[in-house]
């Protein structure tokens, strides 16, 4: 079982103009990832871009690994060009994922945009009682909706532009949800992933309501496995590595 392995691209399905669902066939025996863990994916062998890019695994069977990615810059633009049959290197699974919710606690999952990629496998494994709030800018950017519905959890969807589901940002929806479920405050545990401003807003609500939980962070990464100290994030306990102690941190420990 190797954490540095080759995989063949079997499918690279565009979901919309900016998002693709990438399917890989690992060419070596690989380790199963925990929800929230990630992989460093080689996007080019030209040294420009130089570094691998971090991505969460959506789903994994022995023969298949699925990744959901959004085109943001140069590296992900190259990933959009990945062709069937191409062989790439990966490192992973890496980092510390989402801890399971303790007995009696209700997981409240909050995903913003591509944050759903990090939380998807957590949602698939979480009990039916969980709540999921999933938001995106527009209807178009809501991904994997059918699969999420299948999972049987209680899903609230929202869009910033009101083109689908409820209107507003996930933190507003979360706020409303707390207001209408006073009792849940004491029993819920947060799982959040999304853009930094969203996480900051959610963390503020959590603090104000004395709610515990976890957030998955992003930072530029060189190695992905703890060696370069490049991915530091400031926490109440000093700098921590997003790739090793994270990407998932107790939400109240992060210094925003």
């Amino acid at each position: 079982m190797n954490r540095y392995f080759k995989a063949e691209i079997t499918k690279n399905l565009p979901l919309n103009s900016k998002n693709n669902l990438l399917t890989l066939f690992p060419l070596e025996p690989v380790i199963d990832p925990e929800p929230g863990q990630f992989y460093m994916i080689e996007v080019s062998d030209s040294y420009n871009p130089l570094l691998k890019r971090p991505f969460c695994c959506l789903r994994k069977t022995p023969d298949n690994m699925q990744f959901l990615f959004t085109v943001r810059g140069k590296g992900t633009a190259l990933m959009k060009e990945f062709r069937k049959g191409q062989v790439i290197h990966l490192i992973g699974p890496l980092g510390s994922g989402y801890p399971e919710a303790r007995k009696g606690c209700t997981p409240v999952v909050i995903a913003g945009g591509t944050g759903i990629a990090s939380l998807f496998s957590f949602i698939e494994r979480t009990p039916d009682s969980s709540r999921v709030i999933y938001g995106a800018k527009t209807k178009d950017e809501l991904l994997m909706l059918d699969e999420l519905r299948k999972a049987g959890i209680r899903l609230t969807v929202c869009t910033d532009d009101c083109s689908f589901g409820e209107e507003g940002m996930v933190d507003q929806i979360f706020m409303n949800f707390l207001r209408s479920n006073e009792s849940i405050r004491t029993s819920c545990v947060l799982y959040a992933c999304g853009p930094r401003p969203m996480l900051r807003a959610v963390a503020a609500i959590a603090r104000d309501n004395n709610i515990k939980g976890y957030a998955s962070l992003e930072e530029n990464m060189a190695c992905g496995f703890g060696a370069c100290l490049g991915c530091a994030v400031n926490t109440v306990k000093g700098y921590k590595r997003v790739c090793k102690e994270g990407p998932v941190f107790p939400i109240q420990e992060i210094v925003w």
Binding site: A222, C228, C231, Y239
Partner: protein, 311 residues
């Protein structure tokens, strides 16, 4: 086939080391690489007191390179000796510790303590571009470097002493000679080159520290040139580092005059890079019918102004 090389009184089983700051304290690579295979492990720069490092973002990419401004985050001498060194000692590889001080006294203290602790080598980092005082000051001032090297030399009895020079000087051979004359057993070239990148969307520097050190394939030609210049000026071994990604790159440095090489940024791209290079050296020597790796050191034809090379 003989892959051993000598650095001072140390015999390395092969010329491939790790570059400081890119290999953590070894642990992080243990599942990718058999640490026993390496010529030497050079660990992250150690300071007297622990340092928490610079705020993020600490790294960004540039064409064929990357900038880093880690800010020498490290556990400090005490915890290194207690928590990190014992782990490394378990492997059959030479352990070289990179050290950085704000003052001459700090360097001397660090080197003395590490020597006493029995590390195989001490690499003086006089070229860190990411800390405010000390470091690079010594690497760009001839008198300061001479004094520093001489003083540290007195404090070091068993370990070999390596000076890692700054690439930001016009006359690297002179600095190499100073290191040699004042007791260095070897020279490492090069540390990162100070650089900067700006996000034109946000008008923010891409690093919180504003400037950082450039590493990776982009700097390889500069590093090879400095190794070539320095190795012709001194008798002590030169250790080459800068943009080594594969065996071909390593060979380029050895042909230029490096007795050993260090792999830095290359480890991030392929965590197995070091062993791939060691295996590649075997294959290369075998194919070329060379039985001793020492026979390629400085092998570049540096005399003739030849014409029509490529044809």
């Amino acid at each position: 086939m003989d892959l051993t090389v000598d650095i001072g009184h140390l015999k390395l089983k092969n010329p491939v080391m790790t570059a400081s700051g890119t290999f953590g304290y070894g642990e992080e690579y243990a599942e990718f690489v058999d640490l026993n295979m390496l010529g030497a492990i050079v660990v992250k720069g150690i300071t007297l007191k622990p340092l928490e490092g610079n705020p993020p973002p600490r790294i960004c990419e540039t064409p064929c390179g990357m900038l880093n401004a880690i800010g020498l985050q490290n556990v400090g001498l005490k915890r290194f000796l207690k928590e990190k060194l014992p782990y490394l000692r378990a492997f059959d590889s030479k352990i070289i510790v990179n050290v950085m001080g704000n003052t001459l006294q700090e360097y001397v203290k660090l080197a003395g303590a590490l020597d006493e602790a029995g590390v195989d080598g001490i690499e003086l980092n006089v070229s860190c571009p990411n800390v405010k005082k000390g470091g690079i000051m010594f690497g760009t001032d001839k008198k300061a470097l001479a004094n520093l090297t001489a003083k540290v030399r007195q404090a070091v009895r068993q370990s070999i002493l390596i000076t890692k020079l700054s690439p930001t000087v016009p006359d690297i051979p002179k600095f190499a000679v100073i290191a040699e004359e004042n007791g260095s057993d070897a020279i490492t070239l090069i540390n990162t080159i100070p650089g900067m990148a700006i996000d034109t969307r946000t008008w923010q520097p891409k690093l919180a520290n504003i400037t950082g050190g450039l590493s990776g394939p982009a700097i390889r030609p500069v590093a090879v040139r400095m190794v070539w210049e320095a190795s012709r000026a001194v008798k002590i071994p030169v250790i080459g580092v800068g943009g080594i990604m594969n065996v071909d790159d390593a060979l380029e440095f050895m042909l230029a005059g490096a007795t050993a090489v260090q792999v830095g940024t290359g480890n991030f791209l392929r965590p197995t890079a070091t062993v791939e290079i060691i295996n590649g050296l075997w294959t290369y020597l075998d194919k070329k019918g060379i039985s001793n790796v020492k026979d390629i050191i400085g092998g570049v034809n540096g005399e003739s102004i030849h014409s029509n090379l490529n044809n």
